[in-house]
Amino acid sequence: MPQVPLNLYLELSAVLFIIGVIGFLLRRNPITMLMAIELMWNAGNLAFIAFARNFIDMSGQVFAFLVITVAAAEAAIALAIVVMVFRRRENADVDDISVMRG
Protein backbone atom coordinates (compact mmCIF):
# COMPACT_ATOMS: atom_id res chain seq x y z
CA MET A 1 0.00 0.00 0.00
CA PRO A 2 1.54 3.31 -0.95
CA GLN A 3 2.31 5.38 2.08
CA VAL A 4 1.08 8.96 2.04
CA PRO A 5 4.09 11.02 3.11
CA LEU A 6 3.94 12.80 6.44
CA ASN A 7 4.61 16.12 4.80
CA LEU A 8 1.31 16.06 2.99
CA TYR A 9 -0.61 15.53 6.20
CA LEU A 10 1.23 18.32 7.88
CA GLU A 11 0.72 20.67 4.98
CA LEU A 12 -2.97 19.89 5.01
CA SER A 13 -3.18 20.47 8.72
CA ALA A 14 -1.33 23.78 8.42
CA VAL A 15 -3.67 24.88 5.66
CA LEU A 16 -6.69 23.90 7.74
CA PHE A 17 -5.32 25.82 10.69
CA ILE A 18 -4.76 28.93 8.62
CA ILE A 19 -8.21 28.66 7.12
CA GLY A 20 -9.58 28.43 10.62
CA VAL A 21 -7.65 31.51 11.73
CA ILE A 22 -8.75 33.51 8.72
CA GLY A 23 -12.30 32.34 9.23
CA PHE A 24 -12.23 33.49 12.81
CA LEU A 25 -10.88 36.87 11.80
CA LEU A 26 -13.26 37.54 8.94
CA ARG A 27 -16.57 36.27 10.24
CA ARG A 28 -18.86 38.22 12.53
CA ASN A 29 -21.33 35.52 13.36
CA PRO A 30 -20.27 33.83 16.59
CA ILE A 31 -21.41 30.41 15.43
CA THR A 32 -19.39 30.66 12.27
CA MET A 33 -16.45 31.78 14.36
CA LEU A 34 -16.89 28.71 16.51
CA MET A 35 -16.86 26.57 13.44
CA ALA A 36 -13.60 28.20 12.37
CA ILE A 37 -12.17 27.41 15.78
CA GLU A 38 -13.26 23.79 15.44
CA LEU A 39 -11.34 23.75 12.19
CA MET A 40 -8.22 24.91 13.99
CA TRP A 41 -8.63 22.30 16.70
CA ASN A 42 -9.10 19.59 14.15
CA ALA A 43 -6.05 20.78 12.24
CA GLY A 44 -4.21 20.02 15.44
CA ASN A 45 -5.87 16.64 15.60
CA LEU A 46 -4.77 15.84 12.08
CA ALA A 47 -1.19 16.76 12.89
CA PHE A 48 -1.37 14.59 16.00
CA ILE A 49 -2.68 11.61 14.14
CA ALA A 50 -0.10 12.06 11.40
CA PHE A 51 2.73 12.21 13.86
CA ALA A 52 1.35 9.28 15.80
CA ARG A 53 1.23 7.27 12.61
CA ASN A 54 4.76 8.34 11.79
CA PHE A 55 6.14 7.43 15.22
CA ILE A 56 3.86 4.41 15.59
CA ASP A 57 3.01 5.80 19.00
CA MET A 58 -0.40 5.80 20.63
CA SER A 59 -0.13 8.92 22.67
CA GLY A 60 -0.77 11.19 19.70
CA GLN A 61 -3.99 9.38 19.02
CA VAL A 62 -4.99 9.62 22.65
CA PHE A 63 -4.39 13.31 22.54
CA ALA A 64 -6.50 13.66 19.41
CA PHE A 65 -9.24 11.62 21.01
CA LEU A 66 -9.27 13.85 24.06
CA VAL A 67 -9.28 16.94 21.90
CA ILE A 68 -12.45 15.66 20.22
CA THR A 69 -14.06 15.05 23.57
CA VAL A 70 -13.11 18.43 24.90
CA ALA A 71 -14.20 20.05 21.66
CA ALA A 72 -17.67 18.67 22.15
CA ALA A 73 -17.91 20.11 25.62
CA GLU A 74 -16.45 23.37 24.45
CA ALA A 75 -18.89 23.59 21.58
CA ALA A 76 -21.79 22.94 23.91
CA ILE A 77 -20.68 25.63 26.30
CA ALA A 78 -19.92 28.16 23.60
CA LEU A 79 -23.24 27.50 21.96
CA ALA A 80 -25.02 27.92 25.26
CA ILE A 81 -23.33 31.25 25.80
CA VAL A 82 -24.08 32.40 22.31
CA VAL A 83 -27.73 31.48 22.78
CA MET A 84 -27.80 33.27 26.10
CA VAL A 85 -26.30 36.41 24.62
CA PHE A 86 -28.30 36.61 21.43
CA ARG A 87 -31.65 35.43 22.66
CA ARG A 88 -32.80 39.00 23.14
CA ARG A 89 -31.20 40.51 20.07
CA GLU A 90 -32.14 40.95 16.48
CA ASN A 91 -28.99 39.67 14.89
CA ALA A 92 -25.89 37.86 15.94
CA ASP A 93 -22.95 40.14 15.23
CA VAL A 94 -20.20 39.82 17.83
CA ASP A 95 -19.24 43.44 17.41
CA ASP A 96 -22.68 44.55 18.50
CA ILE A 97 -22.30 43.46 22.07
CA SER A 98 -19.59 45.81 23.21
CA VAL A 99 -20.54 47.74 26.33
CA MET A 100 -17.08 47.57 27.87
CA ARG A 101 -13.97 49.14 26.45
CA GLY A 102 -10.99 51.30 27.41
Partner: protein, 477 residues
Protein backbone atom coordinates in the same frame (compact mmCIF):
# COMPACT_ATOMS: atom_id res chain seq x y z
CA UNK B 1 2.46 -3.04 21.90
CA UNK B 2 1.33 -4.22 25.27
CA UNK B 3 -0.68 -2.37 27.74
CA UNK B 4 1.08 -2.20 31.02
CA UNK B 5 -0.58 -1.99 34.37
CA UNK B 6 -1.38 1.53 35.45
CA UNK B 7 -0.04 2.48 38.82
CA UNK B 8 -2.32 4.62 40.85
CA UNK B 9 -1.31 6.44 43.99
CA UNK B 10 -4.30 7.92 45.75
CA UNK B 11 -1.97 9.75 48.09
CA UNK B 12 -0.65 11.86 45.26
CA UNK B 13 -4.08 12.22 43.70
CA UNK B 14 -5.58 12.89 47.13
CA UNK B 15 -6.43 16.60 46.82
CA UNK B 16 -7.97 16.04 43.40
CA UNK B 17 -9.95 13.03 44.60
CA UNK B 18 -11.28 14.95 47.57
CA UNK B 19 -12.37 17.83 45.38
CA UNK B 20 -13.99 15.54 42.79
CA UNK B 21 -16.01 13.91 45.53
CA UNK B 22 -16.86 17.32 46.98
CA UNK B 23 -18.10 18.55 43.63
CA UNK B 24 -20.25 15.47 43.13
CA UNK B 25 -21.59 15.70 46.67
CA UNK B 26 -22.61 19.30 46.06
CA UNK B 27 -24.53 18.22 42.96
CA UNK B 28 -26.09 15.25 44.73
CA UNK B 29 -27.17 17.32 47.71
CA UNK B 30 -28.92 19.72 45.40
CA UNK B 31 -30.34 16.78 43.48
CA UNK B 32 -31.75 15.07 46.53
CA UNK B 33 -32.62 17.98 48.74
CA UNK B 34 -35.33 20.48 48.06
CA UNK B 35 -34.34 24.14 47.81
CA UNK B 36 -31.06 23.66 49.64
CA UNK B 37 -29.79 27.04 50.88
CA UNK B 38 -26.71 28.07 49.00
CA UNK B 39 -24.77 28.64 52.18
CA UNK B 40 -25.02 24.91 52.79
CA UNK B 41 -23.74 24.09 49.32
CA UNK B 42 -20.87 26.54 49.57
CA UNK B 43 -20.17 25.31 53.05
CA UNK B 44 -19.73 21.80 51.67
CA UNK B 45 -17.35 23.29 49.15
CA UNK B 46 -15.31 25.05 51.82
CA UNK B 47 -15.23 21.85 53.84
CA UNK B 48 -13.98 20.09 50.72
CA UNK B 49 -11.21 22.67 50.47
CA UNK B 50 -10.24 21.90 54.04
CA UNK B 51 -10.23 18.21 53.17
CA UNK B 52 -8.14 18.84 50.07
CA UNK B 53 -5.70 20.79 52.18
CA UNK B 54 -5.44 17.92 54.63
CA UNK B 55 -4.81 15.60 51.70
CA UNK B 56 -2.24 18.01 50.33
CA UNK B 57 -0.35 18.50 53.59
CA UNK B 58 1.44 15.11 53.62
CA UNK B 59 2.74 15.79 50.12
CA UNK B 60 4.81 18.74 51.42
CA UNK B 61 8.37 18.39 50.22
CA UNK B 62 7.60 15.07 48.54
CA UNK B 63 8.54 14.32 44.99
CA UNK B 64 6.81 11.42 43.31
CA UNK B 65 4.80 10.52 40.24
CA UNK B 66 1.78 8.39 39.56
CA UNK B 67 -0.40 7.27 36.65
CA UNK B 68 2.73 5.92 34.99
CA UNK B 69 4.59 9.16 35.40
CA UNK B 70 1.90 11.33 33.90
CA UNK B 71 1.03 13.12 37.14
CA UNK B 72 3.46 14.30 39.75
CA UNK B 73 3.66 15.92 43.10
CA UNK B 74 6.86 17.86 43.31
CA UNK B 75 8.27 21.34 43.71
CA UNK B 76 6.24 22.57 40.78
CA UNK B 77 2.92 21.42 42.09
CA UNK B 78 2.72 21.67 45.87
CA UNK B 79 2.76 25.38 46.49
CA UNK B 80 0.68 26.18 43.43
CA UNK B 81 -1.90 23.59 44.48
CA UNK B 82 -2.08 25.13 47.93
CA UNK B 83 -2.70 28.56 46.42
CA UNK B 84 -5.40 27.11 44.16
CA UNK B 85 -7.27 25.45 47.02
CA UNK B 86 -7.01 28.57 49.15
CA UNK B 87 -8.37 30.65 46.28
CA UNK B 88 -11.28 28.26 45.85
CA UNK B 89 -12.18 28.54 49.54
CA UNK B 90 -12.06 32.35 49.46
CA UNK B 91 -14.12 32.45 46.28
CA UNK B 92 -16.79 30.24 47.79
CA UNK B 93 -16.93 32.53 50.82
CA UNK B 94 -17.31 35.61 48.64
CA UNK B 95 -19.96 33.85 46.57
CA UNK B 96 -22.15 33.23 49.58
CA UNK B 97 -22.77 36.93 50.12
CA UNK B 98 -26.36 38.07 49.89
CA UNK B 99 -26.15 39.86 46.55
CA UNK B 100 -23.53 37.65 44.94
CA UNK B 101 -24.19 36.59 41.36
CA UNK B 102 -24.36 32.86 40.99
CA UNK B 103 -26.86 32.53 38.18
CA UNK B 104 -29.55 31.36 40.65
CA UNK B 105 -28.09 27.90 40.45
CA UNK B 106 -25.78 27.60 43.42
CA UNK B 107 -25.13 23.89 43.10
CA UNK B 108 -23.88 24.00 39.55
CA UNK B 109 -22.03 27.22 40.34
CA UNK B 110 -20.20 25.65 43.26
CA UNK B 111 -19.58 22.43 41.35
CA UNK B 112 -18.18 24.36 38.41
CA UNK B 113 -15.86 26.31 40.68
CA UNK B 114 -14.67 23.08 42.25
CA UNK B 115 -14.14 21.36 38.90
CA UNK B 116 -12.40 24.45 37.69
CA UNK B 117 -9.96 24.16 40.58
CA UNK B 118 -9.48 20.48 39.80
CA UNK B 119 -8.43 21.58 36.33
CA UNK B 120 -5.90 23.87 37.93
CA UNK B 121 -4.61 21.06 40.15
CA UNK B 122 -4.23 18.83 37.10
CA UNK B 123 -2.26 21.59 35.37
CA UNK B 124 -0.01 21.93 38.39
CA UNK B 125 0.76 18.24 38.50
CA UNK B 126 0.64 17.19 34.85
CA UNK B 127 3.92 16.07 33.35
CA UNK B 128 2.64 15.41 29.84
CA UNK B 129 1.20 17.60 27.14
CA UNK B 130 -2.05 15.64 27.40
CA UNK B 131 -2.41 16.37 31.09
CA UNK B 132 -1.61 20.03 30.61
CA UNK B 133 -4.18 20.32 27.83
CA UNK B 134 -6.87 18.55 29.83
CA UNK B 135 -6.20 20.68 32.88
CA UNK B 136 -6.29 23.91 30.94
CA UNK B 137 -9.52 22.96 29.21
CA UNK B 138 -11.22 21.86 32.41
CA UNK B 139 -10.21 25.14 34.01
CA UNK B 140 -11.25 27.22 31.03
CA UNK B 141 -14.53 25.55 30.18
CA UNK B 142 -15.79 26.02 33.70
CA UNK B 143 -14.63 29.63 33.74
CA UNK B 144 -16.39 30.43 30.46
CA UNK B 145 -19.66 29.52 32.13
CA UNK B 146 -18.82 31.15 35.44
CA UNK B 147 -17.94 34.44 33.72
CA UNK B 148 -21.52 34.52 32.44
CA UNK B 149 -23.24 33.82 35.74
CA UNK B 150 -23.84 37.53 36.13
CA UNK B 151 -26.56 37.04 33.48
CA UNK B 152 -28.64 39.02 32.60
CA UNK B 153 -26.24 41.87 33.36
CA UNK B 154 -25.10 42.74 29.80
CA UNK B 155 -21.47 43.08 30.84
CA UNK B 156 -21.45 39.56 32.18
CA UNK B 157 -22.92 38.13 28.96
CA UNK B 158 -20.36 40.04 26.97
CA UNK B 159 -17.58 38.80 29.21
CA UNK B 160 -18.62 35.19 28.74
CA UNK B 161 -18.87 35.51 24.97
CA UNK B 162 -15.55 37.27 24.60
CA UNK B 163 -13.89 34.82 26.92
CA UNK B 164 -15.23 31.69 25.27
CA UNK B 165 -14.47 32.76 21.71
CA UNK B 166 -10.98 34.09 22.39
CA UNK B 167 -10.23 31.29 24.80
CA UNK B 168 -11.10 28.69 22.23
CA UNK B 169 -8.96 30.50 19.69
CA UNK B 170 -6.08 30.37 22.15
CA UNK B 171 -6.75 26.69 22.78
CA UNK B 172 -6.49 26.11 19.06
CA UNK B 173 -2.97 27.55 19.12
CA UNK B 174 -2.20 25.49 22.18
CA UNK B 175 -3.36 22.25 20.55
CA UNK B 176 -1.49 22.88 17.35
CA UNK B 177 1.61 23.81 19.32
CA UNK B 178 1.29 20.60 21.33
CA UNK B 179 1.02 18.65 18.11
CA UNK B 180 4.20 20.17 16.75
CA UNK B 181 6.01 19.60 20.04
CA UNK B 182 4.85 16.01 19.94
CA UNK B 183 6.16 15.80 16.43
CA UNK B 184 9.54 17.17 17.45
CA UNK B 185 10.05 14.72 20.29
CA UNK B 186 7.94 11.70 19.43
CA UNK B 187 6.46 11.72 22.90
CA UNK B 188 4.03 13.79 24.89
CA UNK B 189 6.00 13.71 28.13
CA UNK B 190 7.86 16.87 29.06
CA UNK B 191 11.02 15.02 29.98
CA UNK B 192 11.24 13.69 26.43
CA UNK B 193 10.96 17.24 25.13
CA UNK B 194 14.12 18.36 26.84
CA UNK B 195 16.24 16.52 24.27
CA UNK B 196 14.61 18.54 21.51
CA UNK B 197 14.95 21.69 23.59
CA UNK B 198 18.70 21.37 23.66
CA UNK B 199 19.07 21.23 19.87
CA UNK B 200 16.10 23.49 19.10
CA UNK B 201 14.84 22.09 15.79
CA UNK B 202 12.46 24.38 13.98
CA UNK B 203 9.54 22.08 14.68
CA UNK B 204 10.13 22.38 18.42
CA UNK B 205 10.62 26.11 18.29
CA UNK B 206 7.42 26.81 16.37
CA UNK B 207 5.54 24.32 18.49
CA UNK B 208 6.75 25.97 21.68
CA UNK B 209 5.91 29.36 20.23
CA UNK B 210 2.32 28.28 19.60
CA UNK B 211 2.04 26.71 23.03
CA UNK B 212 3.45 29.89 24.55
CA UNK B 213 0.77 31.90 22.78
CA UNK B 214 -1.84 29.69 24.42
CA UNK B 215 -0.29 30.02 27.87
CA UNK B 216 0.29 33.74 27.46
CA UNK B 217 -3.40 34.12 26.74
CA UNK B 218 -4.25 32.41 30.00
CA UNK B 219 -1.73 34.57 31.86
CA UNK B 220 -3.00 37.69 30.09
CA UNK B 221 0.45 38.60 28.89
CA UNK B 222 0.34 41.46 26.44
CA UNK B 223 -0.46 41.47 23.48
CA UNK B 224 -2.69 38.50 24.31
CA UNK B 225 -4.28 40.38 27.17
CA UNK B 226 -7.05 42.26 25.42
CA UNK B 227 -9.80 40.01 26.78
CA UNK B 228 -8.70 40.56 30.36
CA UNK B 229 -10.15 43.96 31.30
CA UNK B 230 -13.52 43.22 29.71
CA UNK B 231 -13.84 39.74 31.15
CA UNK B 232 -12.68 40.76 34.60
CA UNK B 233 -15.00 43.72 34.65
CA UNK B 234 -17.98 41.78 33.41
CA UNK B 235 -17.67 38.69 35.56
CA UNK B 236 -19.17 38.53 39.05
CA UNK B 237 -16.74 39.79 41.68
CA UNK B 238 -16.04 36.42 43.22
CA UNK B 239 -15.24 34.94 39.81
CA UNK B 240 -12.99 37.85 38.93
CA UNK B 241 -11.12 37.34 42.18
CA UNK B 242 -10.82 33.67 41.39
CA UNK B 243 -9.59 34.27 37.85
CA UNK B 244 -6.91 36.76 38.82
CA UNK B 245 -5.28 34.30 41.19
CA UNK B 246 -6.21 30.74 40.28
CA UNK B 247 -5.61 30.96 36.55
CA UNK B 248 -2.27 32.58 37.19
CA UNK B 249 -1.28 30.00 39.78
CA UNK B 250 -2.15 27.05 37.56
CA UNK B 251 -0.64 28.50 34.40
CA UNK B 252 2.52 29.54 36.14
CA UNK B 253 2.85 26.00 37.46
CA UNK B 254 2.77 24.78 33.85
CA UNK B 255 5.08 27.49 32.61
CA UNK B 256 7.58 26.94 35.41
CA UNK B 257 7.55 23.21 34.88
CA UNK B 258 8.12 23.78 31.20
CA UNK B 259 10.92 26.23 31.74
CA UNK B 260 12.66 24.10 34.35
CA UNK B 261 12.19 20.56 33.06
CA UNK B 262 12.17 21.14 29.33
CA UNK B 263 14.82 23.84 29.15
CA UNK B 264 16.50 23.73 32.53
CA UNK B 265 18.70 26.66 31.64
CA UNK B 266 18.30 30.01 30.01
CA UNK B 267 17.48 29.29 26.39
CA UNK B 268 17.26 31.52 23.39
CA UNK B 269 13.80 30.03 22.84
CA UNK B 270 12.62 31.82 25.99
CA UNK B 271 13.43 35.28 24.64
CA UNK B 272 9.86 35.85 23.36
CA UNK B 273 8.56 35.05 26.84
CA UNK B 274 10.77 37.77 28.30
CA UNK B 275 9.57 40.18 25.63
CA UNK B 276 5.95 39.38 26.42
CA UNK B 277 6.61 39.94 30.11
CA UNK B 278 8.29 43.30 29.59
CA UNK B 279 5.48 44.39 27.32
CA UNK B 280 2.86 43.24 29.83
CA UNK B 281 4.41 45.09 32.74
CA UNK B 282 4.32 48.34 30.80
CA UNK B 283 0.92 47.88 29.17
CA UNK B 284 -0.68 46.70 32.40
CA UNK B 285 0.77 49.42 34.60
CA UNK B 286 0.04 52.25 32.22
CA UNK B 287 -3.34 50.85 31.28
CA UNK B 288 -4.44 50.96 34.91
CA UNK B 289 -3.64 54.67 35.23
CA UNK B 290 -6.90 56.03 33.89
CA UNK B 291 -9.31 53.39 35.12
CA UNK B 292 -12.24 54.45 37.25
CA UNK B 293 -13.63 50.97 37.81
CA UNK B 294 -11.77 49.11 40.52
CA UNK B 295 -12.34 45.70 38.96
CA UNK B 296 -11.00 46.93 35.67
CA UNK B 297 -8.12 48.63 37.42
CA UNK B 298 -7.22 45.38 39.13
CA UNK B 299 -7.54 43.61 35.79
CA UNK B 300 -4.89 45.86 34.28
CA UNK B 301 -2.84 45.47 37.41
CA UNK B 302 -3.08 41.70 37.07
CA UNK B 303 -1.66 41.98 33.56
CA UNK B 304 1.32 43.78 35.01
CA UNK B 305 1.55 41.35 37.92
CA UNK B 306 1.72 38.41 35.52
CA UNK B 307 4.64 40.14 33.86
CA UNK B 308 6.26 40.68 37.25
CA UNK B 309 5.98 37.00 38.06
CA UNK B 310 7.76 36.03 34.87
CA UNK B 311 10.80 37.89 36.18
CA UNK B 312 11.23 35.10 38.71
CA UNK B 313 11.92 32.67 35.89
CA UNK B 314 14.46 34.86 34.13
CA UNK B 315 17.81 33.19 34.02
CA UNK B 316 16.10 29.96 35.12
CA UNK B 317 17.91 30.32 38.42
CA UNK B 318 18.00 27.85 41.26
CA UNK B 319 15.76 29.96 43.43
CA UNK B 320 13.50 31.25 40.70
CA UNK B 321 10.72 28.87 41.55
CA UNK B 322 10.78 29.76 45.25
CA UNK B 323 10.69 33.44 44.42
CA UNK B 324 7.81 32.91 42.03
CA UNK B 325 5.87 30.97 44.61
CA UNK B 326 6.51 33.53 47.35
CA UNK B 327 5.26 36.28 45.10
CA UNK B 328 2.27 34.20 44.07
CA UNK B 329 1.32 33.61 47.70
CA UNK B 330 1.69 37.31 48.42
CA UNK B 331 -0.34 38.14 45.34
CA UNK B 332 -3.07 35.69 46.31
CA UNK B 333 -3.35 37.23 49.75
CA UNK B 334 -3.38 40.85 48.68
CA UNK B 335 -5.47 40.49 45.56
CA UNK B 336 -8.08 38.23 47.12
CA UNK B 337 -8.13 40.60 50.08
CA UNK B 338 -8.78 43.57 47.83
CA UNK B 339 -11.57 41.75 46.02
CA UNK B 340 -13.02 40.60 49.32
CA UNK B 341 -13.24 44.25 50.36
CA UNK B 342 -15.01 45.19 47.13
CA UNK B 343 -17.41 42.30 47.59
CA UNK B 344 -17.97 43.05 51.26
CA UNK B 345 -18.91 46.68 50.71
CA UNK B 346 -21.48 45.85 48.06
CA UNK B 347 -22.54 42.69 49.86
CA UNK B 348 -21.57 40.74 46.78
CA UNK B 349 -22.76 43.01 44.01
CA UNK B 350 -21.13 45.63 41.84
CA UNK B 351 -22.05 48.68 43.93
CA UNK B 352 -18.45 49.23 44.94
CA UNK B 353 -16.76 48.62 41.62
CA UNK B 354 -16.52 52.33 40.91
CA UNK B 355 -13.66 54.22 42.53
CA UNK B 356 -15.94 57.19 43.22
CA UNK B 357 -17.85 55.02 45.67
CA UNK B 358 -14.71 54.88 47.80
CA UNK B 359 -14.56 58.60 48.43
CA UNK B 360 -14.13 59.25 52.14
CA UNK B 361 -14.61 55.58 52.89
CA UNK B 362 -12.19 55.94 55.78
CA UNK B 363 -14.64 58.14 57.64
CA UNK B 364 -17.47 55.69 57.19
CA UNK B 365 -15.76 52.33 57.50
CA UNK B 366 -12.30 53.00 58.91
CA UNK B 367 -11.21 49.40 59.37
CA UNK B 368 -12.29 48.37 55.90
CA UNK B 369 -10.50 51.36 54.43
CA UNK B 370 -7.34 50.52 56.35
CA UNK B 371 -7.48 46.91 55.18
CA UNK B 372 -7.95 47.93 51.56
CA UNK B 373 -5.13 50.44 51.92
CA UNK B 374 -2.89 47.68 53.18
CA UNK B 375 -3.76 45.47 50.22
CA UNK B 376 -3.19 48.27 47.75
CA UNK B 377 0.10 49.19 49.41
CA UNK B 378 1.14 45.60 49.10
CA UNK B 379 0.18 45.51 45.44
CA UNK B 380 2.20 48.67 44.95
CA UNK B 381 5.15 47.10 46.76
CA UNK B 382 5.44 49.44 49.72
CA UNK B 383 8.02 48.19 52.27
CA UNK B 384 6.59 46.36 55.22
CA UNK B 385 4.06 44.50 53.13
CA UNK B 386 4.14 41.16 51.40
CA UNK B 387 4.32 42.71 47.96
CA UNK B 388 7.54 44.49 48.78
CA UNK B 389 9.43 41.36 49.72
CA UNK B 390 7.94 39.52 46.80
CA UNK B 391 9.27 42.17 44.46
CA UNK B 392 12.65 42.12 46.16
CA UNK B 393 12.88 38.40 45.54
CA UNK B 394 11.80 38.85 41.93
CA UNK B 395 14.35 41.60 41.41
CA UNK B 396 17.09 39.40 42.83
CA UNK B 397 16.25 36.75 40.29
CA UNK B 398 16.08 39.35 37.56
CA UNK B 399 19.41 40.95 38.30
CA UNK B 400 21.03 37.54 38.52
CA UNK B 401 19.47 36.45 35.23
CA UNK B 402 21.74 37.84 32.56
CA UNK B 403 20.96 40.70 30.20
CA UNK B 404 17.33 39.70 29.68
CA UNK B 405 16.89 39.30 33.41
CA UNK B 406 18.22 42.80 33.96
CA UNK B 407 15.90 44.16 31.29
CA UNK B 408 13.00 42.40 33.00
CA UNK B 409 14.04 43.73 36.39
CA UNK B 410 14.22 47.27 35.03
CA UNK B 411 10.77 46.88 33.49
CA UNK B 412 9.55 45.62 36.86
CA UNK B 413 10.89 48.72 38.55
CA UNK B 414 9.33 50.97 35.93
CA UNK B 415 6.01 49.17 36.15
CA UNK B 416 6.05 49.33 39.94
CA UNK B 417 6.66 53.06 39.93
CA UNK B 418 3.72 53.64 37.64
CA UNK B 419 1.53 51.29 39.63
CA UNK B 420 2.25 53.15 42.86
CA UNK B 421 0.42 56.10 41.37
CA UNK B 422 -2.39 53.81 40.27
CA UNK B 423 -3.03 52.35 43.69
CA UNK B 424 -2.53 55.60 45.52
CA UNK B 425 -5.36 57.15 43.56
CA UNK B 426 -7.69 54.73 45.28
CA UNK B 427 -6.08 55.21 48.66
CA UNK B 428 -6.31 58.96 48.19
CA UNK B 429 -9.98 58.71 47.39
CA UNK B 430 -10.60 56.77 50.57
CA UNK B 431 -8.91 59.31 52.80
CA UNK B 432 -10.11 62.63 51.40
CA UNK B 433 -12.53 64.24 53.80
CA UNK B 434 -16.20 63.67 53.37
CA UNK B 435 -18.15 66.08 51.23
CA UNK B 436 -21.85 65.90 50.56
CA UNK B 437 -23.93 62.77 50.75
CA UNK B 438 -22.15 59.47 50.61
CA UNK B 439 -23.70 56.10 49.86
CA UNK B 440 -24.43 54.05 52.90
CA UNK B 441 -22.45 50.86 53.08
CA UNK B 442 -24.50 47.97 54.26
CA UNK B 443 -22.35 44.95 53.63
CA UNK B 444 -20.61 43.64 56.66
CA UNK B 445 -20.97 39.89 56.45
CA UNK B 446 -18.64 37.93 58.68
CA UNK B 447 -18.03 35.67 55.71
CA UNK B 448 -15.94 38.35 54.05
CA UNK B 449 -14.21 39.34 57.23
CA UNK B 450 -12.55 35.94 57.13
CA UNK B 451 -10.69 36.46 53.84
CA UNK B 452 -10.03 40.10 54.67
CA UNK B 453 -8.57 39.17 58.05
CA UNK B 454 -6.56 36.33 56.56
CA UNK B 455 -5.34 38.68 53.87
CA UNK B 456 -4.34 41.40 56.31
CA UNK B 457 -2.59 38.94 58.58
CA UNK B 458 -0.85 37.32 55.65
CA UNK B 459 0.22 40.54 54.00
CA UNK B 460 1.63 41.87 57.24
CA UNK B 461 3.27 38.57 58.16
CA UNK B 462 4.88 38.14 54.78
CA UNK B 463 5.97 41.74 54.89
CA UNK B 464 7.38 41.80 58.39
CA UNK B 465 8.70 38.28 58.88
CA UNK B 466 9.11 37.13 55.29
CA UNK B 467 11.93 34.79 56.18
CA UNK B 468 9.55 32.34 57.83
CA UNK B 469 7.57 32.03 54.64
CA UNK B 470 10.62 32.04 52.45
CA UNK B 471 11.87 29.03 54.32
CA UNK B 472 8.49 27.31 54.16
CA UNK B 473 8.30 27.96 50.46
CA UNK B 474 11.84 26.99 49.68
CA UNK B 475 11.66 23.77 51.66
CA UNK B 476 8.53 22.75 49.74
CA UNK B 477 10.85 22.58 46.76
Amino acid sequence: MTIQGVNFDFGILGPISVLVITGLVVLLVDLVGRAVPRVVLYGIGVAGCAGAFIALAPLYGRSATTVNGAFATDRFSWGFSAVLIFTLAVTLLLSSLRNADDGNSPASYAALLIFCTIGGLIMAGATTLIGIFLGIEELSLALYVLAGTGYPRPASEEAALKYVLLGSLASGFLIYGSALLYGSAGSVSLSALSAAASSLPLLFVIGFGLLLVGLAFKLALSPFHLWTPDVYEGSPIAITAYMTVAVKAATFAVLARFVYTVFGHDSVALVPLWLLAIFSMLVGSFGALRQRNLKRLLAYSSIAQAGFMVVALSGVGEYGLSSLLFYLVAYALMNLGAFAVIAMLGDGDEAYADIDAYRALFYRRPWVAVALTLFLFSLAGIPGTAGFYGKVLLLEQGFAGGPWGIALALALIAGSIVSIYVYFQVVWAMFVPQEGEQPVTAGNSWLTWVPVAVGVAGVVALGVIPQVFVSIVSSSM
